[in-house]
Symmetry: C2
Subunit: 280 residues, 2 copies
């Protein structure tokens, strides 16, 4: 296992920027992110040792975690890095509370290989790292490249990540809010700019494929295709489709506020709870 | 492995109710839920074969899944059941799209052993099963008992689960909205009723404990305690604390709508993206 014993040079007047992701510490997108943010502050990398896509906001509560010193080459030399045997949310918790000498000023998660827009936000490990930072009170954003091409060029996404990082360091973010950034699969010169968006209403049409093992027992692969159900022009999917970088402010208060009053109007009176109700 | 080859008696005019959880197919809370809902419709159980707490909205995309026929005893005899080698969200996807002869009319996840209120909603596998149902357009709720006691009595929680199930079958739910139900750790006669609430603002104060293995290498256990930062009287935590069953409507649109305009006011003009910006 590669070892990285370089010191972490944290200065009080220089932003400490924690980088993480869900594709794993050795993913190209993370290296591209580190390159893009070089010079904005002191960079530190704490990322999963293994790919963790689609883990959602999973955390590790039943097993201990390791944090291996890791060789992570940046454009100006090695960057302090740890590879964690956990999820993206674990990485941010462990880094902020234990591994780093102080809380980071900014957490950036990415650059994900593939989009994290619409309903996919809740399945996304990339977003969960940034969400965990927001829960801890640290400004953060997730950044994803909307291409699945293994040979994708992350340069444009990196440039935009740097712009968003700069804006957040300048303006801050409201408590509990993070940004979810998706960069369209376009050449840099074709990207039309940045749009602030809302999460589109969409879903997956799942088709589980049933196969048989050599002993004729069934097993299932999750497959399917993504369906946009939202024709709004203010959504993340629309912005991406139109060649814009989508920036969506998201939070982790899942309360469906506009339905509170409707639900309160239901008859919740339950005097009959004792004895056992038989015909509700 | 126990086998359960009982047929699933689905009738067009009788609600088909899918039960799942994150504590695993053999958890006492799931058995209590099945008992409590007996008679409300045709019950089917599709739950993780292993405990899946704190998995958040994780799904299985890199491995195939098995769905083992399972012996699940209900109060009126065995209930059709499958134990799935996946997460709670996987169970609901696979059941609704592949295993059941038709889409269920209601999905109920629980009864979880321990509360799922405030920020814990996003870590919760229990809630994620119900959220997945909402994404698929199926009315759903998650129900949790606020006790960690291994010997907890689920009867009161079961009674309230039945009431909520009845209300949802009667009223339906708005598209994309599910209910998150938490039952206080009180004897049935001390529970004061049901309150419709919002998710409290709270967080975990994490304390990672560093230990050393026999080879003196460090590893970390996640620990910590829960801190309520919200003194509102309309929250889930307040209702539970006051002895009420908390019912929170939640959704999976994470857009922080009230911050959209503020974010739009930032300077997002990026004409300088080509060539490389050097001093943003």
């Amino acid at each position: 296992m590669p070892r990285n014993s370089i010191p972490l040079d944290v200065q009080p007047d220089r932003p400490l920027i924690l980088l993480s992701n869900d594709d794993g510490v050795d993913a190209n997108g993370l290296a591209a992110l580190a390159s893009a943010l070089t010079g904005l502050g002191t960079l530190a990398v704490v990322a999963p040792i293994q790919e963790q896509s689609a883990v959602g906001h999973s955390i590790t509560v039943r097993d201990p975690m390791r944090a291996h010193p890791w060789l992570f080459e940046g454009p100006e030399g090695p960057i302090w890095a740890r590879a964690v045997t956990g999820t993206p949310a674990d990485c941010v918790k462990l880094a902020s509370q234990k591994l780093l000498p102080r809380r980071p000023d900014l957490v950036v998660s990415g650059i994900n290989h593939g989009p994290n827009a619409a309903v996919n936000v809740i399945y996304s490990g990339t977003v969960s790292a940034a969400t965990e930072a927001a829960i801890l009170g640290i400004p953060s954003f997730a950044v994803s490249h909307c291409s699945w091409d293994p040979e994708v060029d992350f340069e444009a996404a990196g440039r935009y990540a740097r712009i968003v990082a700069g804006r957040i360091l300048e303006h801050g973010l409201p408590s509990g809010v993070l940004l979810n950034v998706n960069v369209p699969d376009q050449k840099m010169e074709h990207i039309r700019g940045i749009e602030v968006t809302r999460q589109a209403h969409a879903r997956w049409e799942e088709e589980f494929e049933e196969r048989r093992d050599p002993m004729n027992r069934p097993y299932y692969w999750l497959g399917g295709h993504f369906v946009n159900l939202d024709d709004g022009h203010d959504t993340d999917l629309h912005a991406i489709d139109q060649g814009y970088v989508s920036v969506t402010p998201i939070h982790y208060d899942l309360t469906a506020y506009k339905h509170l009053s409707r639900l309160e109007a239901w008859d919740w009176h339950v005097e009959s709870i004792n004895p056992v109700p038989t015909d509700i």
